[in-house]
C-alpha cells in the first residue's frame, strides 16, 4: 500500500504540490490526471525519492521514503517523464546495468532480461545504441527497465506519450496484465487512456486533488451524464419540437454536424424514454440516438478550468489592492 499524507512540495515560492493525501492499495491502477503543471510529475518524483518533500510523508508498504529510501526504491519500478536512458549504451547493455543494480546476477539476470525483452518487444533493437532508437522504442526501453524486477509498485509518468496507436494499445495491454496484484500509478493527459486502463482516477490541478473516483463515477459527474445524443438523417428543427419541455435543460447542436444534437436533462431527470416517445410520435428523421454515460473530458475541463480561474485571479486581486494602497 502507498500512503501519502499531507504531502507538500515547494520550489522557492511556488507550491507545486499542496497538502496532498491519498492511499493506493494493491490491484488498483490509479490514473493521475491534470493539466500541465498540475503537480502530477512532482508528486511522482517525491514518491520515487527523486525529490524530497517539503512537508508530509510518503510510505510504501510501511517504509518511509525519507528514512528508508533504499527499501522503497527496491519496491518501485519507475518510468520518469520522457523516459530518460543512457544514450551511448545499447538496449541490452542498459537493461544489464539496471538488472545488476537491482541485485540480479548470472542465470536469474539473464532470465529477467530475456523476459522483459519479450514482453516489451525489444528483440529487434537489442544491439542498437539507445541514441539511435525511435521515440517509441526509447519509451519501451524505459518501460522495460521499470518492470524488469517485477516491482510491487509501478509508477509511470506519461507512459504512452509519443507512441503510435498500435504501440499505445500494446502498452495499455501490458499495464493491464501487470496490474493484477500490484499498485500502478500512471500520469497522463490522455483521457481515453484512463477509461481504458485505470480502476481509479484522481484529477489534480494546482497541486490539490479536485476529484477522486472510478473513471465511470467521474464520467457520471459530467454535465453530459444522462444526456441523449441524437443523429438525424435530414435537417429538422429539433428545438421547436422540444420547446417548453421542463425536463430538458438544454439542446446543443454540433458545430461541425448540423444534424447532430445533444439533449441535456434537467437535474435528476431521466429523459431517455420521453425523448424516444417524442421521436416516434413526432416522426423525427432519426438515424440513431443513444444515452450518453457522461464525458470524462467534459468533467475534467469543468473541474480544472474552475481551479485555474481561481488560481489566476488570486495574484491579480492581490496586485490590485497594492495599487490602491499606493494611490
Amino acid at each position: 500500500m502507498i500512503e501519502i499524507s499531507h504531502l507538500t512540495k515547494k520550489f522557492d515560492n511556488f507550491t507545486a504540490v499542496d497538502d496532498l493525501s491519498f492511499k493506493v492499495v494493491e490491484g488498483e491502477v490509479l490514473g493521475f490526471l491534470g493539466p500541465n503543471g498540475a503537480g502530477k510529475s512532482t508528486t511522482m518524483k517525491v514518491i520515487t525519492g527523486f525529490l524530497s518533500a517539503t512537508h508530509g510523508s510518503v510510505t510504501v508498504d510501511g517504509h518511509d521514503i525519507a528514512t528508508d529510501p533504499i527499501a522503497v526504491k527496491a519496491l518501485i519500478g519507475y518510468l520518469p517523464e520522457g523516459a530518460p536512458s543512457y544514450p551511448d549504451m545499447t538496449t541490452l547493455e542498459f537493461l544489464d546495468f539496471i538488472a545488476e543494480i537491482r541485485g540480479y546476477s548470472g542465470e536469474e539476470k539473464h532470465r529477467r532480461i530475456e523476459k522483459v525483452i519479450n514482453d516489451v518487444e525489444l528483440r529487434s533493437v537489442c544491439h542498437k545504441t539507445i541514441d539511435t532508437l525511435s521515440k517509441g522504442f526509447k519509451r519501451r526501453v524505459g518501460l522495460a527497465q521499470a518492470i524488469l524486477h517485477d516491482p510491487k509498485v509501478l509508477i509511470l509518468d506519461e507512459p504512452t506519450d509519443g507512441l503510435d496507436p498500435n504501440q499505445k494499445h500494446h502498452v495499455r495491454k501490458l499495464i493491464r496484465n501487470l496490474a493484477k496484484d500490484k499498485i500502478v500509478i500512471i500520469s497522463t493527459h490522455i483521457l481515453e487512456e484512463v477509461s481504458a486502463v485505470c480502476t481509479r482516477a484522481i484529477i489534480i490541478a494546482g497541486g490539490r486533488i479536485l476529484a477522486d473516483g472510478t473513471p465511470k463515477e467521474l464520467e457520471r459527474r459530467s454535465a453530459y451524464a444522462g444526456a441523449i445524443s441524437v443523429q438525424l438523417t435530414e435537417e429538422f428543427d429539433l428545438r421547436a419540437a422540444l420547446v417548453g419541455d421542463e425536463d430538458i435543460r438544454g439542446i446543443e447542436q454540433d458545430e461541425d454536424n448540423a444534424r447532430h444534437f445533444i439533449l441535456l436533462p434537467s437535474a435528476n431527470k431521466q429523459i431517455f424514454n420521453k425523448v424516444s416517445e417524442k421521436a416516434q410520435n413526432g416522426h423525427w428523421p432519426v438515424a440513431e440516438y443513444h444515452l450518453v454515460e457522461g464525458l470524462l473530458e467534459d468533467y475534467f475541463r469543468s473541474v480544472t478550468h474552475d481551479s485555474a480561474l481561481t488560481r489566476r485571479d488570486a495574484p491579480q486581486a492581490a496586485s490590485a489592492t497594492t495599487t490602491q494602497q499606493q494611490v
Binding site: 527523486f50 544514450p87 551511448d88 549504451m89 546495468f97 541485485g103
Partner: protein
C-alpha cells in the same frame, strides 16, 4: 556485485563508448610530450630524471581534468538520467564514489600511457626509479584532487560548460596558492598564515612527493582533500533534491 562497482563499470564503459576517452588520452599524451620535450628541455638538461615531465602536470591537469569532470553530474541532469539513477536502490555515496573512481581510472590510464618516457630515461641513463614511481603516485593523487573538485562543481549545475569554468577557477586557486608569486604577496603576514596557504596548495604537496619524499602527510592531504570534495558533492546533490 557491489553497487559502487556496477556504477563504476557503467561509467568507465561510458567513457569508451564515445570518443571522449580516446580524445582525452591522445590530447593528454601530446600535451605532456610538448611540455616535457619542448618547454621542459628534456634532452638539453642532460639529466636522467623526469622533473621536466612532472613539473608541468599541475598546469596540464588544470585544463584536462575539468574537461573530464564537467560531465559527471551536469550531463545526467541535462539528459534527465539523474532521475533514473537516483530512483534506483543505490546509496548516494556509492554513486558519487563510483562516478569519481571511473573518471579517476581514466586519468590514471592516460598517465600510465606516458610510460615510453620512463623507458626513454632508463635507456639514456640511470634515473632513480623510486623517485619516478613516487612522482607518478603523486601525480595520480593530484589528478584525484582536481577531479573531486570537478565532481562537486558538476553537481551544482546542469550546464557542463559552467561546471568546467567553475572547476578550472577553483583548481587554479588550489594550484596558484603554492606559487611564489602568491606567497610573496602575502609575505607581510605571520609565517603561520603563509604556511597555511602554501599547505593548501597542490604544488607544495606534489613537489615534495615528486622529489621522492613520500611523506605520509602529503599523501594524507590528497586523500582527505578528495574525500572532502566528494562529501561536498553528495551534500550538493542532497540540497538539489530538496529544491
Amino acid at each position: 556485485m557491489n553497487k559502487m562497482l556496477i556504477i563504476f563499470k557503467r561509467e568507465l564503459a561510458g567513457y569508451f563508448a564515445t570518443p571522449l576517452a580516446y580524445v582525452f588520452i591522445v590530447i593528454f599524451l601530446v600535451m605532456s610530450g610538448i611540455f616535457t620535450f619542448d618547454m621542459g628541455s628534456f634532452f638539453e638538461r642532460g639529466q636522467a630524471d623526469l622533473m621536466p615531465f612532472f613539473d608541468f602536470h599541475p598546469w596540464l591537469y588544470l585544463f584536462m581534468i575539468p574537461a573530464i569532470a564537467m560531465g559527471l553530474w551536469a550531463d545526467e541532469r541535462k539528459t534527465g538520467t539523474i532521475e533514473l539513477l537516483m530512483t534506483l536502490p543505490v546509496k548516494l555515496a556509492d554513486v558519487v564514489f563510483g562516478k569519481f573512481l571511473a573518471a579517476w581510472v581514466l586519468c590514471i590510464l592516460a598517465l600510465a600511457l606516458t610510460f615510453p618516457i620512463w623507458i626513454t630515461v632508463n635507456y639514456l641513463g640511470n634515473p632513480d626509479n623510486g623517485v619516478i614511481f613516487a612522482a607518478y603516485l603523486g601525480s595520480a593523487l593530484m589528478a584525484g584532487g582536481f577531479l573531486s573538485i570537478g565532481s562537486c562543481m558538476s553537481a551544482m549545475t546542469r550546464n557542463s560548460i559552467v561546471a568546467f569554468i567553475l572547476t578550472v577557477s577553483i583548481c587554479f586557486v588550489f594550484v596558484a596558492c603554492g606559487t611564489e608569486i602568491v606567497l610573496d604577496t602575502v609575505s607581510w603576514a605571520p609565517q603561520l598564515f603563509i604556511d597555511a596557504i602554501a599547505g593548501l596548495s597542490f604544488l607544495t604537496h606534489f613537489d615534495s612527493i615528486s622529489k621522492g619524499v613520500l611523506d605520509v602527510r602529503d599523501v594524507l592531504f590528497f586523500v582527505v582533500f578528495i574525500a572532502s570534495w566528494l562529501f561536498a558533492s553528495a551534500i550538493v546533490i542532497e540540497i538539489k533534491k530538496a529544491n
